[in-house]
Symmetry: C2
Subunit: 313 residues, 2 copies
Amino acid sequence: MSKYAFGVDVGGTSVKLGLFGAEGELLDKWEIPTVTENQGAAILPDIAKSILDKMEEKSLGEEDVAGIGIGVPGPVDRNGLLVGRAVNLGWDSLDIPKALQAYIKVPVKAANDANIAAFGELWQGGGRGYENMVAVTLGTGVGGGIIVDGRLLAGATGAGGEIGHLHLQDGEAESCNCRNKGCLEQYASATGIVRLAKRRLAEDEKPSTLRQGEITAKAVFDAVKAGDGVAIEIAERFGDYLGKGLAIVSAVVNPEVFVIGGGVSKAGEILLTFVEPCFQKYAFPQCRGAKFVLARLGNDAGIYGAAALVLRQ
Amino acid sequence: MSKYAFGVDVGGTSVKLGLFGAEGELLDKWEIPTVTENQGAAILPDIAKSILDKMEEKSLGEEDVAGIGIGVPGPVDRNGLLVGRAVNLGWDSLDIPKALQAYIKVPVKAANDANIAAFGELWQGGGRGYENMVAVTLGTGVGGGIIVDGRLLAGATGAGGEIGHLHLQDGEAESCNCRNKGCLEQYASATGIVRLAKRRLAEDEKPSTLRQGEITAKAVFDAVKAGDGVAIEIAERFGDYLGKGLAIVSAVVNPEVFVIGGGVSKAGEILLTFVEPCFQKYAFPQCRGAKFVLARLGNDAGIYGAAALVLRQ
């Protein structure tokens, strides 16, 4: 009998939910608000209720559901335990599967949200067909998710794939959100690109459209597409940092493919033209065959990956 | 019925072999020469003959042998295929298990030699009791082996754990053996420590026992133990490079433990006192709990890990 799975992606303001068929087809998706009051005590009951309502709507019994996968913004180990704080939810050290199963009697698996997004891209997105993948999310920060031989690399304390925080630059004066200095994230995130842009613009008076209006990562890449020389220099610096960072990652886990997603990746294929040559320059020769592709699932990567925890792994 | 396993560690000049009991106890070990003529065509038949001889000596039939594990100095993927050249053996692109099974009818598993040494340390050495480990071999070069959730990370092209070749230093003038510039290996290997020592000594005329005699990694750490100020500075630079490199590795795979082996590690625990503080300085906060221990199996790590391929994985 064909089974269904629910994929849940818990964010700080809303929870995304998806109902998937056994072959990974997304049958329905919806959102509910994340109620963070009282250390987020209502979040799991709310999720359980929303799933039970959907099961009733679709006339599904618990025997029809293979399980629920859930992605959480915090350090989750391979057993689904939140091993530290999920700051945006108010949670601290929680056995997520057990807690959710108090409300709904189906198998539950939990993982870190960046990792499940990676898993989603492997299953149904840009990484489809690969078994060894690194997903890179270029958003406000730089997130990562690593798949080794088809399995998520969670790490000892749920920090596997925290590639935004690999040390890349000695002598950096500004601090990263993690309080270290010189993290990849400080140069390759959306805010990092703005940092690089401001620094470049301050170096001289060379004309650039970036000297008018707000500087954003999107503005930089729009200017690149329009042929703005200064913007191209900024993109080259970004590409050098990210290419170098991913070359380092490849010497550790030697992936077949890098899948690049997040808001910054909306710049499109042109982004990769700045990253890949720098990757090739710094990569260990045997790791240079890694492919670069853009993520395909956008904001749905999390619910896909959460469902994959149940249906695939 | 209790089963036996053979662990084989193929080197450029000799092949180490071990006979193990089912609980991982080393019952016998011996060596045979590596005959590299004719693209190393005799190596596998020689190994098979040596194992068959040992089986006869011990009155073991094929049914008593759980299998043979074999470590090879080259890129081996997770299926035991040599996916490139094993330069020191003369081999190129070989299905190692299939080739050995032409001579002896027992299960065969193959992996990269640095990776199996890591696996040996996990099984019976410094990493015992851990499931997420990074082994670091500080020898002529810097090798690495990564274990994730108890499994070897081979990588897409057998280059998983090539941490000696992660880019660490911009602006390096000298080339690494891999032809890149600024690899960790250029500072943290035995030859890298000599490089750091020569550079430090050239900076000024500060007295040091290192100004007499040959400069080796051992001489540097002997001088450190004797309280030589210049040697201590050199060890601090080495520690900064290696600590930083391992902090980067921890942001990728978030291990529970680093197991430090290879010739340089014979300096003993004092080595770790230079590495660990620097690791802490650069590591992502959530990764700072990683332990540092010395390898325990020495040159036997390879045969242990090869046997573990059969008995453990």
